[in-house]
Symmetry: C2
Subunit: 400 residues, 2 copies
């Protein structure tokens, strides 16, 4: 009877795990690895915030060590509400519309557990961040993909969405700025989605992990147009950049938040207290204003170097210049077709032979077999250029 | 269609929430509250550990800010394995038998999600920590209670267990040292449970939150007798005492850990990195050896004061002198019967009138209506004595 619930195995290991295994092997052999695979910031959060944390740790009080309310300390919920007003002009009640979570992942898990019932339709864009599918499968939802394409800058095809929504549609999950494409949603597309959400009464789950990691353009705020239908999933992992501290939040209408809070309490009891104090300090003291522009300047230059290197060394590659997030989604099908190799085998062999880590496009959906995802935030400009050169060499070697 | 999954509401708000609301109201009115309700340590973790954390935060590296493996950093898994060898002489492979979680709560959630399938029988002792029931309900398990009694020092009745196990028994959840009773499991009872677990092939989930919070006696290590049937749920919340830092771990056989790790990854991606470094430092440098005896001395004196005050001011109360954990489970039925008031109403009115917070026995099971749980770790000896005096006054006032 010590059987394991088979539903568990719908939660497959992260598809990047095979790449991680090769990476670990190479790093044990002390081989140099070009990390173009990870969505992890490369710049630690601001020293001012870290100094604040170091100081409060010296105080003889349980305030910084004890449990907090399961929806988060009042100070962080207030700081989040002020921040969203500042960033997007959206108005939230910190006591009713916000629940603080142990990272965006836990926020997404709790939210999906609350809204999905067996057989519900959940709509994803194709391509889509690979983290959603296993969760939807786990909760018994049925995934429908809607089309995007490189030539339309990865904006979702609204006609396709109109054809696919129906009375079983429970939610549409969308990321903007996007992972893996770096696309920022156009306001007219965003508004059209809001209209459909209201008409068919489904949830828009907007993953706003990269909402401030913007190089060109502006984040689209769904909440302004359909507040009763929008659930914002947020994280402090990318800005200020301490993903390991596991802090995020969900905002939505009062009833939804009440339910997410219940699950949150059972999942983690409360979000990490020290992360809550750190993030409160970051927001309340507007540390972002000085810190983030410097970070974005570095990331933007790295993105530009990636574009330059792709144009120069892989001239047949096609891409949409990332407007935000940490990624570019690059079409290498011209090369891969000629070499008769799929993106999964290509990226694995590339990593083994050249030490360059990328994520294969096949992991993001159905229609992007010839693509790969580049992260441009981890490596320096020199190393990004070198990595692209290595990819070009590898393509050449495979051809011979 | 924006319906909320009804299963969510099996996760009722923590039953202490009503008490929390009264507490919050009183503290806004700046009324003094005697906190005998909470299982939270009152002594911050050792300064040496906190200084270490303050120092590493100054380093310009993502090492202390980035994601970790979802099963936890190798250093913390090694430290845990060494610690369990030291404490209990039990041997675990840090790469196969341990997964680090965002607290004991998340470890329990992940583990129950993995083992419970609809209709499985899950056995709890009566009384039992109130956190398990909602989780078992949520995952579709059926709860069966086994008997314990004050006169047997809250040792589970093995004859009762033998009658209740059957082919649908999936797991027995047990806490030792116990919440709410402070009972430490006797070896002969523990061994009898192991024999039954092997015979009927069910899991023993041993909640070891308080394994080192021991005043008299020794923790019973199930793993030694039935390693293939034991799942240890552990936390760093009580020792070293930073519950808000959300760190715990689960140990079990390789296959179970593989499944828990999958869920852990989807729930929280990884446990908080800074908590992992802090706890590694605590374990690797054996800070417990100096730190914990001082803490236990304080807690033990407070327990003794509680016993003294109960004997003196509430002479009809009956209790089992807590051997470990942070609690005593006290039979006030002699008073409550005479006053014709149930434990829930009694504790609520006591809090409102006298500012003394306790947890009613009714929340811990079926057979302990006249009991209340005292936590003796939060308040000073003077205040514990004063609180018991207030309870006695309150009982007298109710009688008049």
């Amino acid at each position: 009877m010590r059987r394991i619930n088979r539903n568990t195995f719908k939660l497959r290991e992260s598809p990047t795990r095979r790449i991680d295994i090769i990476k670990e092997k190479l790093s044990k052999e002390r081989k140099d690895i070009y990390l173009l695979s990870t969505g992890q910031p490369s710049i630690p959060p601001p020293m001012e915030m870290r100094k604040y944390v170091a100081e409060i740790l010296m105080e003889e009080t349980m305030k910084y060590y004890g449990y907090t309310q399961s929806r988060g300390l009042p100070i962080i919920r207030e700081a989040i509400a002020e921040d969203l007003m500042l960033l997007g002009g959206i108005e939230l009640n910190p006591d009713e519309n916000i629940v603080v979570t142990a990272g965006g992942q836990e926020g997404m898990f709790a939210t999906l557990s609350v809204i999905i019932e067996g057989g519900d339709q959940v709509i994803l864009t194709d391509p889509s961040y690979f983290g959603y599918k296993p969760l939807i499968d786990y909760f018994g939802g049925k995934i429908t993909y809607i089309e995007t394409s490189l030539k339309n800058g990865f904006q979702p095809n609204i006609e396709d969405l109109k054809e696919k929504v129906n009375s079983k549609t429970k939610a549409l999950i969308i990321v903007s700025p996007d992972n893996p494409t770096g696309r920022i949603l156009e306001p007219k597309i965003g508004k059209a989605i809001c209209d459909l959400a209201v008409e068919y009464d489904f949830w828009i789950l907007i993953d706003e992990a990269y909402k401030t990691i913007v190089y060109e353009g502006k984040h689209f705020w769904f909440w302004k147009y359909a507040p009763e239908h929008v659930i914002g999933i947020n994280t402090f992992s990318k800005d200020p950049g301490f993903p390991g501290w596991r802090l995020g939040y969900v905002y939505a209408n009062k009833d939804l938040i009440k339910a997410v809070k219940l699950v949150n309490e059972e999942l983690v009891y409360c979000p990490p207290v020290i992360s809550q104090w750190a993030a409160s300090y970051y927001l309340k003291n507007r540390l972002r204003e000085k810190f983030l522009p410097k970070v974005l300047e570095i990331y933007r230059s790295r993105r530009d170097t990636l574009c330059y290197a792709l144009d120069r060394y892989l001239p047949e590659s096609r891409y949409f210049r990332s407007q935000g997030s940490m990624f570019m989604f690059v079409d290498l099908s011209s090369y891969l077709c000629r070499l008769n190799i799929d993106s999964i085998r290509f990226t694995e062999r590339l990593l083994e032979k050249k030490g360059v880590a990328l994520i294969p496009g096949a992991l993001f959906g159905n229609s992007f077999e010839g693509f790969v995802r580049f992260s441009f935030v981890t490596e320096s400009e020199e190393r990004i250029e070198a990595a692209v050169k290595y990819i070009a060499n590898f393509v050449e070697e495979l051809a011979n």
